[in-house]
């Protein structure tokens, strides 16, 4: 294993070990995402009808739940590093500093994907959305969307680690930049829920998400060391 990936693995494994012990982040994130979906389902799914909401609404609510719970997870993940100023300790280690960023990113993506495993079936159930008819395409949308959101989020959360109003600043900075990811995620998911499903359209949005991921990841790796050095 190269030195870069060794550091990535050490940092990510540490985050996962702490989470496995405390389960603080997964419980909070899942609870928040579930609450979000349930509240929206009550508003959107009519009592007297057949219980089938518009595909667009289900797609939008799924991605809102991911974005909100993702913001919560990012804040809490870096709050752990703030106590004891351990993010600086990671930056003082001899490995490549971008490897620390990737290690933190892996932890955040893992946490969000675990949340999505619980949230997606709930959205399908409450909105009677046929999300699993094209499970592979949906999985690609979720994975690439989550990576894109987390790439930017991890960079901003790390940058704001020592800022006093980090809780307020994180969504203010994060949401405008990740709007393309959200739009692609929502439109791609909605395309899968149309009757008949617009698979070509969904594939197009997946390719767009992949492009965003490449751009955001490259920019984040390029800038991480300079933004973290005072």
């Amino acid at each position: 294993m190269s030195a870069f990936w060794r550091v990535v693995w050490i940092v990510a494994r540490k985050d996962l070990a702490i989470e496995a012990r405390s389960r603080e982040l997964i419980n909070t994130t899942v609870f928040f995402a579930l609450s979000c979906v349930i509240v929206f389902s009550v508003s959107f799914v009519g009592e007297g009808g057949d219980g089938r909401a518009l595909g667009d609404a289900a797609a939008g609510i799924l991605w809102i739940a991911i974005a909100f719970s993702g913001t919560l997870a990012l804040g809490r993940t870096f709050e752990r590093e703030r106590y004891g100023d351990t993010l600086r300790a990671l930056l003082l280690a001899p490995g490549a500093r971008p490897a620390v960023y990737v290690g933190k990113l892996v932890g955040v993506v893992g946490l969000l994907l675990a949340t999505e495993i619980i949230v997606v079936p709930l959205v399908a159930l409450l909105f009677q959305a046929r999300l699993f008819d094209h499970a592979l395409l949906l999985a690609a949308l979720l994975v690439f969307g989550t990576v894109g959101f987390s790439c930017v989020g991890t960079l901003f959360a790390a940058m704001l680690g020592r800022a006093r109003s980090r809780d307020v600043l994180l969504p203010i900075l994060l949401y405008p930049v990740t709007i393309p990811v959200m739009i692609a995620g929502v439109r791609g998911t909605a395309a899968l829920l149309q009757a008949p499903p617009q698979l070509d359209m969904a594939r197009l949005w997946i390719m767009l998400l992949l492009s965003f991921d490449v751009v955001f990841l490259t920019l984040s790796l390029w800038t991480f060391e300079s933004v973290m050095t005072e």
Partner: protein, 238 residues
């Protein structure tokens, strides 16, 4: 490329934060086996200097040379030769003492991190508490553990920011002993402290900073309190 070095050279170092100048054209030479104290009131520039030397901050002008080469020339491996004990201790409270040491041992690429962690726990007098979460430790216990964490990878340069905070007398004496051991092994130590009484016990040289400027570089570390009372914002010894 070897990143070992026997001297640290700080040349004309300045650092501005906006319009505020935290360090102003500071120069300092340190040799292997020397313990140099950075003394001065809050805001004197001690922590800024340590952050720049540790490579966590970059200077606005001037340079730091580690055995004649800059951090840019030496690359990331330089950080593997620097140990840092900051005021915030750099420990994960959700991990046990042993897990913290093993984690940092792995991160620094040390050989046999488990063995090193066991030795470090003994040195920190925490061998029987190695399996306990750090969140349950007192400040003094954390401080001892954090010092051993900073030394886990046998650094050539040790940067200590207020290392005596929270230590009882026995731990202070143990730390002084540990610093003397490091001096014998050739480690360069930069130690920022307000504790002049302890500083006199261990320092080879005292550098006094005030408003970001070096105002004195004293080989004789006795009686600092009396001589620099006004610069250090300390009262006379009762």
């Amino acid at each position: 490329m070897s990143v070992d070095f026997l001297e640290l050279s700080i040349r004309e170092l300045s650092r501005n934060f906006g319009r505020r100048r935290a360090l102003s054209r500071m120069s300092l030479e340190c040799r292997a086996g020397e313990i140099v104290g950075l003394l001065g009131p809050n805001g004197a520039g001690k922590s800024t200097l340590l952050a720049i030397v540790s490579t966590l901050a970059v200077p606005s002008s001037g340079e730091v040379r580690y055995g004649g080469r800059t951090a840019r020339e030496l690359g990331a491996m330089l950080r593997g030769r620097i140990g840092v004990l900051s005021h915030d201790l750099h420990l994960y409270s959700e991990l046990t003492a042993r897990e913290n040491l093993v984690f940092f041992g792995r991160l620094y690429g040390t050989d046999d991190p488990e063995m090193r962690a066991a030795r470090a726990l003994e040195r920190a007098r925490l061998a029987d508490r190695g399996g306990d979460l750090v969140s349950g430790f007192s400040r003094g216990m954390r401080q001892r553990l954090a010092l051993e964490r900073a030394l886990l990878h046998d650094p050539r340069l040790l940067l200590l920011d207020e290392p005596f905070t929270g230590l009882d007398d026995a731990s202070t004496i143990a730390l002084v002993g540990r610093l003397r051991e490091l001096r014998s092994s050739g480690c360069i130590t930069l130690l920022a402290t307000h504790d002049l009484d302890v500083a006199e016990l261990v320092l080879d040289r005292a550098v006094i900073l005030h408003d970001g400027k070096l105002v004195a570089n004293e080989d004789d570390v006795r009686g600092l309190r009396k001589r620099y009372q006004d610069r250090l914002n300390v009262g006379a010894r009762p």
